[in-house]
């Protein structure tokens, strides 16, 4: 009876301001019953950490069309320092093949290239979100 929707932060870091893609994804996730915190583009990493913490999100989706994904490794390490290692990070948009490895090594859970289906995105975010939530419950049966 007491299930709670997965919470996802959909955001853009870096300089690129095209946010159509992230809007579409936000709508997908909402239509699948998730709660999406949506931000305008040009967020700093500091902002993303603060948003993830205050909104207690389970997944962060970063959209990147140009070079924004290059800052994602910084985001990953800041998340760890902020004790938010349970939050899963996915990157959507255009990431050159030879840079996937670098993102995966940094701890990114999934990269969605152009043309990824709605079903695939929803399925993956649901799994990651459920995992993050479960981790928190296991770790923090605290109140």
């Amino acid at each position: 009876m007491n299930s709670t929707p997965i919470r996802v932060l959909v955001t853009k870091i870096g300089l690129d301001g095209h946010d159509r893609g992230s809007r579409v994804v936000a709508a997908y996730l909402r239509d699948s019953g998730m709660e999406v915190i949506y931000t305008p583009p040009w967020q700093t990493i500091e902002n993303v950490i603060s948003l993830a913490e205050q909104e207690d999100v389970d997944v962060i989706g970063v959209s990147s069309l140009a070079t924004d994904h290059l800052i994602v490794p910084d985001l990953m390490s800041e998340l760890k320092s902020a004790n938010l290692h349970h939050v899963a990070v996915v990157v959507g948009g255009i990431v050159p093949d030879n840079e996937h490895d670098m993102l995966n090594k940094a701890g990114v859970s999934k990269i969605f290239g152009p043309g990824t289906s709605k079903e695939e995105i929803v399925k993956c975010v649901t799994e990651l979100g459920t995992g993050a939530r479960k981790y928190k419950i296991d770790e923090g049966d605290f109140f």
């Binding site: 009876m1 007491n2 299930s3 709670t4 929707p5 919470r7 936000a26 709508a27 996730l29 909402r30 239509d31 699948s32 019953g33 998730m34 709660e35 999406v36 915190i37 949506y38 931000t39 305008p40 967020q43 700093t44 500091e46 902002n47 603060s50 948003l51 913490e53 205050q54 909104e55 207690d56 902020a82 004790n83 938010l84 928190k136 923090g140 049966d141 605290f142 109140f143």
Partner: protein
């Protein structure tokens, strides 16, 4: 679950950390309260003793009137004065999927990394009245975690949002010109609950005439409700925010000390009512379907009235088999 010494010691430390202002814990406590269940009830119970100090300022009004933008300006002003502020922004959930895109805080982006501002987006999750069912306990936990000012933004349904009345110490009703028929705003019950009426977007044409309409509407009221302040603001041009702040401060000064006790009693009662309703709805679902069939049968055949039937159902909810 084994509640051994170690475990309960852990819980005590966690609660202490929460009460001393750990933001990550506060965020997770809110999620727990939203989820509901026994653990949430326990948490709500444990923190209630530490709540009741914060000033709660409620913003309600027509969708798109500028509530979030105004809150952003007010937060900026309060920060300039050195205050710590928390914002709880409620947005509607989709009735179909249960999901939501929570967008209020996009208007408050400049405060995102300020550690003295806590913003939380809350989905209404199907609760009527413009607030989520967990909001009362969420207010309590934010309060207990040491946030002295809590600004609450409700879903701008424009319908009578009575719940905000009992939760907010000061109710600000936001209107704006050009949002459909002006008379609509006047018809809807929300204006009745305002301690302050704001006409936002005063940079737009027709805002003067909206101010006039509201004034003449107040004229018709009984004398003690006549003097509600009407403030023209522009969140985008930064007009009238100081006056709004001053007005809110004046009202809060006049609330007096005995007021806190009354408010806390009202909240307690409201929480009890909501919990009882929830329990009642739950019990309704538990009633043996054969018994319901039987009652429906009698109803169809005119043996009992609708009112009688409801009375029988109510009794079934009380004496559980």
């Amino acid at each position: 679950m084994i509640d051994n010494d170690h475990n309960s010691q852990n819980k005590k430390t966690t609660l202490k950390k929460l009460l001393s202002g750990d933001v990550a814990l506060l965020a997770r406590a809110i999620t727990l309260l939203e989820t509901g269940g026994t653990k949430a009830d326990n948490l709500a119970y444990k923190i209630s003793a530490n709540a009741g100090e914060a000033l709660v300022i409620g913003f309600t009004g027509t969708p798109g009137s500028g509530k979030s933008s105004l809150i952003n300006c007010l937060v900026k002003l309060l920060r300039d004065q050195g205050e710590k502020v928390a914002v709880l922004a409620v947005d509607p959930s989709s009735p179909l999927s249960g999901g939501a895109v929570l967008g209020d805080r996009t208007r408050m982006g400049e405060h995102t990394s300020d550690r003295n501002v806590f913003i939380r987006s809350v989905a209404a999750r199907g609760h009527l009245g413009g607030l989520s069912i967990a909001i009362p306990s969420i207010i309590d936990v934010v309060d207990a975690a040491g946030w002295p000012i809590i600004i609450l933004e409700t879903v701008g349904t424009g319908q009578s949002e009575t719940e905000i009345m009992e939760l907010a110490d000061i109710k600000v009703v936001v209107n704006a010109p050009g949002l459909g028929d002006d008379i609509q705003a006047i018809k809807a019950g929300v204006l009745e609950i305002g301690d302050v009426l704001v006409v936002n977007k005063c940079d737009q044409p027709l805002s003067d005439s909206l101010v006039q309409q509201l004034k003449s509407m107040l004229e018709l009221r009984s004398s003690e409700k006549k003097n509600i302040p009407i403030i023209a603001t522009s969140a985008t041009e930064d007009i009238g925010i100081q006056e709004l702040d001053k007005t809110i401060k004046n009202i809060s000064l006049n609330l007096g000390n005995e007021y806190k006790a009354i408010r806390q009693a009202n909240r307690l009662k409201g929480n009890l009512w909501r919990k009882t309703e929830q329990l009642f709805r739950y019990r309704l679902k538990e009633i043996n379907s054969k018994k319901i069939e039987d009652i429906l049968h009698q109803l169809r055949n005119g043996i009992i009235s609708n009112g009688d039937a409801a009375e029988i159902i109510l009794n079934l909810c009380v004496d559980k088999e």
